[in-house]
Symmetry: none
Subunit: 200 residues, 4 copies
DNA sequence: TATGAATGAGGATTCATTCAT
DNA sequence: AATGAATGAATCCTCATTCAT
């Protein structure tokens, strides 16, 4: 019999994942406790473990979901489109994701900083393949003189690091900028930087 | 009489701090245990606490040391020097620090991601002041047409995020780049990017 | 919705408090361990902490309960009654409490000897007020010649010290008296002493 | 070679015992730490253990010294003297000891409350013998009508408990009496009480 | 004689997980 | 589907004592 999930089941799983994201993204895996997650979820601790077999399972489910969304934008780059426009589209999408899903970003950052124990394989597999493919495209653009000569890998790192910085280092960004909203100038700067870097 | 530290004392404190850095930078404060640190330090757990009153004290000492080194480069920027050269000098220094002290960088990243519970004040105080001062300098350069118009804050974030990315996201960087040494192209790219962004 | 306690909850809390009283009254707060209390209670150590948040909480709960019962007898003294009879009634009540609740008495004694870190405020507040009020009554009796001139405070100390002596110094009392039951002559002596002291 | 103690040895042993008394009397045996004692003594912890083999040894030495002084007054009672005067002399001596050596009193109280693990034997031996002898004397006085009929044991307990109360329950006594010095009325009351109780 | 260094044996408390209902 | 009850395995920290000098 195929396990069809009831409405309540779906709702609670979603609630737990949301709570898990909230907590894990701030305190990391080991720094988070089921009590915290249960508190945020508004459920009892044993009830959490009724829906997920373990703390680990919640964390892994979150990471899996995250990776899916994390990879999507790369595939949206159109090798046939205008180079600068395509890169900018990608970069802005990344920036918006950092704005809209800062907790996901921090969850990811925590996982990577700790050596990617859970998602190491994905990094070496799917992610690497996607970026290698992208590098071929970019190198093609460079070879045909459509963009300035640029290392595709470091280009990607620039985009990743800066966009995620606004989410992951939010506290520092806000501390440094005082009351100013960081996001106001962020996109402008990102676009300017990439245009200068890429436009021939 | 000023308590002069024994040779053994100095050695062991250094050993413990090194071990603490190793462990805290990877697992964060809550994810690290005194057992791990003792293991790495090659000392017994109570002996750790003979030199430092608590786990917290080790962590705070590390952060304090870190902050000191972290702030230095900013102050080395010479308002009277060549704008692009000064910014480049700073950026390259930062990059080298990430290369040479990746654990310090990750320790810092962990602290910030978790909301900077320990160093929040420094961020709002000394760090903010330093960057505000730097912004004045950069804005001066912009106003006199010596560099392209850039937002000083986002310029700084670009430098910070990219340079630290190589340390904090090392696993991902290496996964994506396969066998290639990330550092070979990193400085080149950093310089290119900043020159394009800043040169009028 | 008021948290109504389960039957099990009530039972276990009572069990723990009884065990805590047993242990704390003999070894004092610092000399007692959760292991001892768990052993006596027949519960696991973490289970103790499931019902009470800390060792301290068990101790404080016990002291709070104790103080309530400890204060009651004072309030039962009727200013309008026969002076000697009222004092005797109070003294005998105290004596019976020492007999029936020797552990409570020792718990109290331990707390006081160590400087009353927990209940210092109650001593300066409620207890002092009660005894000051009592002193007024006794002084009234003295002034109207209904009892011999006595210092109300030292009268109270006499009653407290002697009655509690049988509980707190039980070992010594029994050692000195050999096989004789201390309580047989105790009440007799107490009554005789107070009558001689008070009767005009 | 007979171990003759050097001057420094004597001095340090005395210092340690004084510090031990200070600490043990307040926190009890298990509640006291060598660190506390070392702190009070102004000596290093290992140095303490150079003079005394263990924490236990310090405690036992203190108790032994204490018992010696504690027993003396009883022997000073003169069976041939005036009954009331002799009892009063004894009681006042006890009171003065409580005033002058409150820490000794509390140390003793702590030991007894905890079941007299160290000095149980002395209580059953020397102390019991002394009080039994005293009882014979008092009973003689009673038989010959020189004092009112009193139970010698409970008489002794009255004296012990009240006099020690001022030392052991000092905090409570002072709390109840407010600013008044407890000792001013104490002796007066003690004398009055005993005279009333004993005088035919 | 004195003390800096070191540690094994606790001791309070936390936490993921299991059990019973 | 939900939760009160329970616990073994940590985890931070304390402390009497030992060791080396």
């Amino acid at each position: 019999m195929p396990k069809t999930k009831t409405r309540i089941q779906k709702k609670n799983e979603a609630t737990i994942l949301a709570a898990g994201l909230e907590v894990f993204s701030q305190y990391g895996f080991r720094g988070s406790t089921l009590d915290m997650i249960a508190e945020v979820a508004g459920l009892s601790k044993p009830n959490l473990l009724y829906y997920f077999p373990s703390k680990d399972a919640i964390y892994k489910t979150l990471l899996a979901q995250l990776l899916e969304n994390w990879m999507k934008p790369v595939y949206a780059i159109d090798a046939g489109g205008d180079p600068v426009a395509e890169i900018l589209k990608y970069a802005k999408l990344k920036l918006r994701m950092s704005q809209d899903f800062p907790r996901e970003s921090r969850l990811f950052a925590n996982e990577i900083i700790q050596g990617a124990p859970q998602i190491g394989e994905v990094l070496h597999g799917e992610l690497r393949r996607a970026i290698v493919d992208l590098a071929v495209v970019v190198n093609g653009w460079v070879a045909t003189g459509r963009v300035r000569p640029v290392d595709p890998y470091h280009l990607v790192f620039s985009i990743w690091s800066l966009t995620q910085h606004y989410a992951d280092f939010d506290v520092q960004v806000r501390a440094v900028m005082g009351g100013t909203d960081p996001m106001i100038g962020a996109e402008q700067h990102l676009e300017d930087m990439l245009r200068q870097l890429l436009t021939v």
